[in-house]
Symmetry: D2
Subunit: 439 residues, 4 copies
Amino acid sequence: MVPRYSRPAMTALWEPEARYRIWFEIEALATQKLGELGVVPAGAAEALWSWWRTDPAIDVPAIDAIEAVTKHDVIAFLTWVAEQVGDDARFMHQGMTSSDVLDTTLAVQLARSADLLLADLDALLAALERRAQEHRYTPTIGRSHGIHAEPVTFGLKLAGYHAEFARNRARLVAARAEIATCAISGAVGTFANVAPEVEEFVADQLGLVPETVSTQVIPRDRHAMFFAVLGVIASSIERLAIEVRHLQRTEVLEAEEYFSPGQKGSSAMPHKRNPVLTENLTGLARMVRSATIPAMENVALWHERDISHSSVERFIGPDACITLDFALGRLTGVVDKLVIYPDRMQANLDRMGGLVHSQRVLLALTQAGVSREDSYRLVQRNAMKVWESDGKLSLLNLLQADPEVTAALPAAQLAEKFDLDYHLRQVDTIFDRVFGPSA
Amino acid sequence: MVPRYSRPAMTALWEPEARYRIWFEIEALATQKLGELGVVPAGAAEALWSWWRTDPAIDVPAIDAIEAVTKHDVIAFLTWVAEQVGDDARFMHQGMTSSDVLDTTLAVQLARSADLLLADLDALLAALERRAQEHRYTPTIGRSHGIHAEPVTFGLKLAGYHAEFARNRARLVAARAEIATCAISGAVGTFANVAPEVEEFVADQLGLVPETVSTQVIPRDRHAMFFAVLGVIASSIERLAIEVRHLQRTEVLEAEEYFSPGQKGSSAMPHKRNPVLTENLTGLARMVRSATIPAMENVALWHERDISHSSVERFIGPDACITLDFALGRLTGVVDKLVIYPDRMQANLDRMGGLVHSQRVLLALTQAGVSREDSYRLVQRNAMKVWESDGKLSLLNLLQADPEVTAALPAAQLAEKFDLDYHLRQVDTIFDRVFGPSA
Amino acid sequence: MVPRYSRPAMTALWEPEARYRIWFEIEALATQKLGELGVVPAGAAEALWSWWRTDPAIDVPAIDAIEAVTKHDVIAFLTWVAEQVGDDARFMHQGMTSSDVLDTTLAVQLARSADLLLADLDALLAALERRAQEHRYTPTIGRSHGIHAEPVTFGLKLAGYHAEFARNRARLVAARAEIATCAISGAVGTFANVAPEVEEFVADQLGLVPETVSTQVIPRDRHAMFFAVLGVIASSIERLAIEVRHLQRTEVLEAEEYFSPGQKGSSAMPHKRNPVLTENLTGLARMVRSATIPAMENVALWHERDISHSSVERFIGPDACITLDFALGRLTGVVDKLVIYPDRMQANLDRMGGLVHSQRVLLALTQAGVSREDSYRLVQRNAMKVWESDGKLSLLNLLQADPEVTAALPAAQLAEKFDLDYHLRQVDTIFDRVFGPSA
Amino acid sequence: MVPRYSRPAMTALWEPEARYRIWFEIEALATQKLGELGVVPAGAAEALWSWWRTDPAIDVPAIDAIEAVTKHDVIAFLTWVAEQVGDDARFMHQGMTSSDVLDTTLAVQLARSADLLLADLDALLAALERRAQEHRYTPTIGRSHGIHAEPVTFGLKLAGYHAEFARNRARLVAARAEIATCAISGAVGTFANVAPEVEEFVADQLGLVPETVSTQVIPRDRHAMFFAVLGVIASSIERLAIEVRHLQRTEVLEAEEYFSPGQKGSSAMPHKRNPVLTENLTGLARMVRSATIPAMENVALWHERDISHSSVERFIGPDACITLDFALGRLTGVVDKLVIYPDRMQANLDRMGGLVHSQRVLLALTQAGVSREDSYRLVQRNAMKVWESDGKLSLLNLLQADPEVTAALPAAQLAEKFDLDYHLRQVDTIFDRVFGPSA
């Protein structure tokens, strides 16, 4: 976790105190159910809960000090709680194993993180929709291979990102469901010393479902899937970030990150306004994505479990969630405040001498009976002249002066093929697909 | 694709001829719909289909030769088809762009690959269930950290893998749905020169759904998700493969890959029977997983598209699908024919002098009123003697001879805690979770 | 290996026949030395070599057929050779283990691959140097964050790439040295049944050095390092490819991939000339890089060896080498034939109204006694006007009209700061660093 | 950075204060040289240094507060220094760009980190050598595929790891040299406003070499190579960690991590002594390795630079260095205190009924004139009986009772082939290769 790339709500979920609070809840809930089942005295849970209702501070350094001796984190925590609560605490953790607490806690943390990330995605989707609607009909050049292709609208671009992040939202909902399981099944998952009812009760109270088969640990394919989904979301962030970076290039300058008063683009060059937020997002995306492989390497634990996954998750659990939360927030801000230059979009659209209409001419020629091969040749030979003139020549003019072309298509019909609106006829169709039918 | 790690049905899906066949179908279907819409002559599609009904061979080298000149694969193919079909072929591809064909074809290939992989998973699940039921009550030692922990059954191990691969099946069903989209939307996805009805018709005929927003290309977050799911499945394969490798270790030898007559384990050491299939699966898992990151790097295409994803997909499309298909098949064979040694399992269970029952004694002591800390100390000091004797001492005997222990728990009660069946009481509960309630 | 991304010389190194030829050489050389040492009859090697001198074809299908029974590749090969050579062949492989042959063969293949890649790098370096010298003084805008910064020359850009690929060459030389080791040490590397002299002899004959400690296998950290170096080289290819893609963007168009007569940029848009080679290189770089992690995962083989690395290497050995060889060749062609537009570079340099000189003014103001903060503010407030005018205003004019500026720097001194040549004074210094001092 | 996986010396290198101290040194050294060159007043540097000699505390929160306004870290720092030093500070950073400071600082941090890591490797190598010599002749079974193969010594195992880490040391020395470069070349690397002499001076003072070609930034292929080397070292750590984990398995138990008094292996099972340090190292290795790909993705910065690399490096710079430092320290402790059980090694060696000698019998049979195929068959048929008896039968006895065997090799000659010392004859040869010739 890098503080500058973190936000408080998500960070708080991953702090030691938050983890210990969940630990306590799991232990107390389990003790409560064990009391109901008659395995431990009914009063044991009450002693725990009545201490808890005093809203006690969690003394992290004290727990750390105990762990330095026991070299075992859960035992250290239980020892510390016993010091606070007294004799009744010895019934805690009855028949359970450390992983029952640790893995269920991680499930809670990841589920809560997913909730924050889903809220982040909702905010991003809202920003994308607002800006998409605002620029629904703002014409701009579509580019393939970085080269002018045919006209689109800026709203269409954003609608496409909306569709992509809506897919990401659905993926995260599924990944959240996968990760939100509870295991209270004992040392090797056989419920030998703790009845399945305890797991069911704790799961229910924490909003989880019981793990189908745990083997001391919750199987790590669930976590691998979760982090893979974060990696896909990060990759989508990268795509939008790179789009903005391209649009802000000096020669393009169709849109720009908001540049606040007092901001400095460069210590050396006072003229600079750089797309630093989206460049930053590009890097953050690499980091979130880098959690994918270690999470997958964590799956193949030995036999009923080894602990190699634990150190990995101490890194990627907080890092991937906190960084993705920050990145989604930053991206939402970029979209929300993006400075958009429709005039410049139009100017760029116009600068290639009408080349962007070449396909329509090609189609018209073939429909007028010219073979596809000949049509392509006729258009390409005129298009290349325009290309080499850097847009100073006009494709329409050249075509109208090419007798082999006009033999098939008279000048007036040629001119009709250079109509921008023609390209925008289906904008509403696509918007309906993304945002639902407009009223 | 490495021939020795491939199977014919999957490989066939990825061969040039298969690809060209799908290309033709897309082009012919689109032409058919364009004919219905009156954009091209109604007879154009019929000319294509009537040639197709002759079941023509696809002349891959001839197409390659054309591509060597045009440097454009789709144009090369269209040119070749035109040579076969004649003049009517010029209406093919009207208003479409190459990616309309390429991306929709990839969707078909991935969807069909997913179908094969789903069948593979079904076979694996069936094998796991059969062997799990067979060894539902076969006791074996559960191990955490590679160290004996407490008893489980071999069926429970396999049931856990069944649950994991059932999750993988569900993930793949979702990933298949994600990938099965059709784009026929033209150069920048605006349907400028091809009506959305064409896309809808082609999608429907091919069992796909129309892509929400395509931008010449189908967005690559879909493919990233697909390959990430393959990576998770591969990681689960690795987990089961490593389990088998561990079980076959000389000192453990609780199970063994089937070793066929005539097979040689080692060119130098005639005594060897090695778990080479599962070692091989471990490596194949690494390969399938390695497609994840490039697939994610493919997401951030520039503007409406660049073609950097294409070369990546020419590798990972066939490689990941073919290798995973082979690996699932191989794993199913391993599970199906796995030689299992219950006697050896029992012998291993017994070899630690009863240490595997230490937790029950710990719990009994705390329930008898000894503090948790003292209980742990009492059990640990006797357990460590057994440990250091390499199982030659008996934990029960030592405990029965420890007056501090017997003060709390009489010898007879201690003996009750060393009951293997106690650990297996919930086996049916867990099997019901995995396979549904037994009759 | 994808045929379209492969070249014959490199591909040939990785074909079965090439592998079998190396196998034979290793076996025959070892037999020869064993004969000298008196372990096997002196005539055994001679029988092998005399058959070899007949330049026999390697019957790959026959060997495959034997392997289908033995399930062991080396035994299958030895059996086939014995069928050809007769009784003397039984002395082959004496005291050796399969990995002695397999790992030493892989070393030979990787070393020879490295030699081809080094030649590729030399060709690329030559092309970069030629074009760098050609455009040593061609001014072009330097860009940070995609935004115009200050002038550089196009030759400087290429010189930087030359320096980077020269570093890559040095890395590959080191990686080749690491990988070029020979192991003939028997089943667990103890030379129990084969004397170290055999290893030394075979190593020497094949241009390798003996492996320090082999444990049946050559340790895989060597291979991990090798593939990591290929990954770094691929990343450098990506950097240059992306530079070209940027330069060819419609709005920039300072350079362009060579576009051959007859080539078609788009099936739909006849006007397109796309940077498809460098986009393709971007994707190929991802693939070569993706070998890095599986190669590192291969390091941790169990005990003296397991065979999980083998399937990985059957993929990444040929794939990474063949793809990188192809990519380097393609990149060299791109550099060699790159169409460079100095006029357009100058036009882009000029389009920002002199903003690129903002730093010099800033420095001059501070040197004239204005505080750094004030200097920055003065320059920035004028620069932002130019920025917002899209370069239609002139920074020099605005500054000369700003009395707070001219109070510190008179108009004439301001004008001096807008001198392009000022930025190019150290070009020769940098070229000397890269290419050595010019005469 | 996860505190529990960090050590103070390495962590200190990466704290904000340490970074700011290096920043100051670079700025002051550059100002000093600029003073010598007459570009700024000679007194400017002296003002900086005399403030510095007061050993001022770096007020990190104050600098952060300025950055919150300027959104530019270097400008914030310069502003803060100017507040401390006064008017002379305005000559700092003359002609430089932020990256001159940032990248040179990163070079210093990575070089110093490499120095710590090299010291770590030296400590590990010393521990490996000590334990290797201690167990030079301790026989133990060599295993391939997890299956008993032939005898080795425990010292040989450790000698192999020594050789591997010695290679890693050499790789890190090379990577350190690659990374230790200095760039003071201005906004686009042209030295337009800062003479190359300044770079040379700063480089020399800081123990760096001038970067060949910087383009505002130091090229990131250097960093990619550095992190790739850390990834390879991590992979070697994983290999040794997994070896220890295997040796500590209950059924093997040939070696064990030191288990300190008071330590608890499991909260639930008092009998457990788990290899948690090496399992932890396995996970840490995954994390260090995961920096490789983002570091490679950082190479392809746009044009003269974009800032996407920066956020990645804020994570992986400290994380990979700190984690690897911790891991090497932990591994050294594991090796140093490893509890080794030679008796158990011997017992395991003996448990397979002499199967480990099968190869020698095979060789003796072929040398006695039996064909290789027949020899293999004869040995395998007896070996398989021993295998199936789980070592209860004796291979020697069976062979001596097999008339087809004894027809070629009399019983006494067979017995000679079952000599353990035979396998250890070359131990000294191998030790000499690793540690140099013994006296």
